[in-house]
């Protein structure tokens, strides 16, 4: 049963460059793509200084891919902004820089470490830095006077995001005032804001996790290498496979072993785990993701991939 569904999900996927669309090709992914492109172009038409939040993770890579498509063959009319926690895996930063160079983009980096160094921020007892990203982000927004900030947030991520708008108004403190969120009707977006305020824009709002992976496979989008299976020294903690780094390493009772793993999400190295996997390309990952999303309910097969799904994208806590 599950296998059939997975095959249906994974079946059609090929490089699109030579594809001529017919009307019947306007499927779910094409519809979502058109909607996202429409959102990017609306912002380009109505705002002065938009910026794309880019972490090097899969969602922001898809976001960038769509943005490039929206303005092709012209260069991207926005800069990128990365809020760097200092806890990145080196492969992710390499990927970020490679993408910036490949497409000739402008990248701004706001570093949490700068704030820790001069005392504007203090390290948390648990060492997790995601919540510390907010201040550098807001400072960068006001310093560069960005009036629209694109993020890769999706409404299917968790219940609390289900009511988020595609255009989300933020006050001068970056705060989201529920009473000031505007009704969104048809595909008419209202981006009006006062000086000092900005609008967070979520072009991937209507995409699901599975849509993202299907799109990555179909468009053959290049991701950071840690998303694909590779040999890595890891140790097990709280049911996750952790990698040693500047944030620390195995305790005395934890064993470092070299295994074939991949990451499902890019986040703070101190709290983001890898999963055991041999999936080495987009198609193989899609098959694995589809299978794990469709795991029989209530199955407590100690399936790391499923519990891992719950850990996905926590990177935006206190951030988006």
């Amino acid at each position: 049963m599950t296998e059939t569904i997975v095959n249906e999900l994974v079946s059609e996927s090929s490089n699109t460059t030579e594809r001529a669309f017919g009307i019947s090709d306007f499927d779910t992914l094409a519809a979502l793509e058109s909607e996202s492109i429409h959102i990017f172009r609306e912002v380009a038409g109505e705002f002065e200084r938009p910026v794309i939040l880019f972490s090097g993770g899969k969602d922001s890579t898809v976001l960038l891919h769509l943005a490039l498509k929206a303005f092709w063959p012209a260069p991207l009319p926005f800069a990128l902004l990365h809020v760097d926690t200092g806890h990145n895996l080196p492969e992710v930063l390499e990927f970020r820089d490679k993408i910036v160079e490949r497409y000739g983009l402008r990248l701004h980096v706001a570093k949490v470490e700068d704030y820790l160094a001069d005392g504007r921020l203090t390290e948390r007892p648990d060492g997790i830095r995601n919540p510390l990203q907010t201040v550098p982000l807001l400072d960068a927004i006001s310093e560069h006077r960005f009036d629209a900030v694109f993020g890769g947030g999706r409404r299917d991520e968790e219940r609390s995001r289900a009511k988020e708008r595609i255009f989300s108004l933020r006050n001068a403190f970056g705060q989201w005032d529920p009473k000031r969120q505007r009704p969104e009707l048809w595909n008419l977006y209202n981006g009006r804001h006062a000086p000092g305020e900005h609008v967070r824009v979520f072009p991937l709002s209507n995409w699901t996790e599975l849509d993202i992976w299907r799109y990555i496979a179909r468009e053959d989008i290049d991701l950071a290498s840690i998303y694909y299976a590779h040999q890595r020294p890891v140790y097990q903690r709280d049911g996750m496979w952790m990698t040693p780094g500047v944030w620390g390493g195995p305790r005395e009772d934890e064993v470092l072993e070299t295994l074939s793993v991949r990451y499902r999400t890019v986040g703070d190295g101190s709290s983001t785990g890898a999963v055991l996997s041999d999936a080495a390309d987009n198609q193989a990952i899609l098959a694995e993701v589809a299978a794990s999303r469709l795991t029989e309910r209530g199955a407590t097969r100690g399936d790391d991939r499923v519990s891992e799904a719950a850990m996905e994208d926590r990177k935006r806590e206190g951030y988006f």
């Binding site: 429409h38 063959p73 609390s160």
Partner: protein
């Protein structure tokens, strides 16, 4: 051509089991992660329930309730191998017409929920009227808790008959409306056909959602020529593309192919479509909903806010028109109000001339010449704009017939606007 991505909305009240129905749709299509199921199961056990309380999958978080935003549209996602669904879940409280309007504005189908023990109530009639106003193409009436009534066959037949009479009056064809007896709690007729409802021979709810014929453009059965609101002019000015000039946008109605004769509105200049560009190659044809870039044969002056339309049925740009609005502002609308109006990709200044009618949702009748329109009121107004707009009647096309009214001082969206007289279509009166 049937859509593979279906946009739906729900309407009805929480008391009738709406959260359970939505939770059931997510659960039965395996659109919920195992860990979420586990959490719900644990919470249900803690509450002493025998079966998982599926409403917990969708009900707002405590933090949300504290912030006072439970009164809002929530979006849910589920999929079957045949279709993907975006569901706008709208709260059912009587006074929150704005939510029904927001959720239904993009919906190709709405699931209206009633409790079998109560049948079609006043709120059902009101919701149906608002959905008719918004031109929702397809309706499903989910008659929930059918297992709790005696003589379910008769109850279901009576509710269906009453609802059909209402929908006919409001302008839906019988083929566009389906009543289904369900139990969201037990899953009857949601994913699979129930053996407990032998008097019902139709599809289960999910079967129906998977197969209901819906055009990708969701505008009913009106065939319009091309409507292409220009969003952005693409001018690379690079060594590789020194003279490239493309007009980017999303097709709002009709289709376009190279060689088509088009007119640019409001200027009236005619030209021909030379090419349809996408990063994946040129298209032989592009239809409603697709974001593309048009290359035109002549070098004409076009900017964001203009509309490229087919020569055959191009609308005449106008600066004064009547419209139906759902008022969303906290402060009432009075004649003479100066606002901004966003239609397609153009935002222009607007003055509200007169308030012509206010729709009385209780009686499904319009009262003439109201003094003002308050929050959640639906009424008909005349409006004058600073720049002529290429509008279509909303009943002909939802995209080119809709607009927003925006308060220029605070920037808030204060009205959902529908061009033309959609009110007369839903003035049925109850005669009571």
């Amino acid at each position: 051509m049937s859509a593979e991505l279906l946009r739906l909305a729900t309407a009805g009240s929480v008391d009738d089991g709406k959260s359970t129905l939505v939770g059931r749709l997510l659960y039965d299509t395996k659109s919920v992660l195992a860990d979420q199921i586990d959490a719900v199961t644990r919470a249900s056990v803690d509450k002493g329930l025998a079966t998982p309380d599926l409403s917990l999958l969708v009900d707002g978080l405590r933090a949300e309730r504290e912030q006072g935003i439970t009164i809002d549209v929530a979006y849910r996602y589920f999929a079957t191998p045949r279709r993907s669904f975006v569901l706008a879940d709208t709260p059912g409280h009587v006074q929150y017409t704005r939510n029904t309007v927001s959720g239904a504005s993009t919906a190709q189908l709405v699931i209206l929920l009633v409790d079998a023990r109560k049948g079609v109530i006043e709120q059902t009639r009101r919701h149906a009227a608002v959905l008719a106003l918004l031109g929702v193409p397809k309706l499903v009436l989910a008659v929930n808790k059918i297992d709790l009534v005696d003589d379910a066959a008769t109850v279901f037949a009576d509710i269906s008959a009453e609802f059909n009479q209402l929908t006919r009056t409001l302008g839906w064809a019988d083929d566009d409306v389906l009543e289904i007896p369900v139990s969201a709690l037990h899953g009857d007729n949601i994913a699979t056909r129930s053996e407990g409802t032998p008097y019902y021979s139709g599809p289960s709810l999910i079967e129906h959602l998977e197969s209901v014929p819906v055009d990708a453009d969701s505008t009913g059965n009106h065939t319009l020529g091309l409507r292409f609101p220009v969003q952005y002019v693409i001018r690379p000015r690079t060594a590789e593309y020194p003279d490239y000039r493309g007009y980017a946008g999303q097709i709002a109605a009709g289709a376009v192919a190279p060689g088509d004769e088009v007119v640019v509105l409001p200027s009236g200049i005619r030209t021909t479509v030379e090419r349809i560009d996408t990063p994946d190659g040129e298209l032989a044809v592009a239809q409603t909903g697709r974001s593309v870039t048009l290359i035109l044969a002549d070098d004409v002056d076009i900017s964001r806010g203009d509309t490229i339309a087919s020569v055959a049925d191009a609308p005449e740009p106008i600066d004064t028109f009547d419209a139906t609005v759902c008022w969303l502002g906290d402060k009432p609308l009075r004649p003479g109000a100066r606002l901004l109006l966003k239609h397609g990709t153009r935002t222009t200044q607007a003055i509200v001339g007169g308030l012509l009618e206010r729709f009385d949702e209780q009686r499904l009748l319009a009262d003439p010449n109201p003094e003002s329109l308050a929050l959640n009121d639906i009424g008909r107004i005349s409006v004058r704009v600073a720049e002529p707009l290429a509008v279509d009647d909303y009943r002909v096309n939802r995209h080119t017939g809709s607009f927003l009214l925006i308060d220029p001082s605070g920037g808030n969206t204060v009205a959902a606007g529908l061009v033309g007289d959609v009110l007369s279509a839903v003035e049925v009166g109850t005669g009571v």
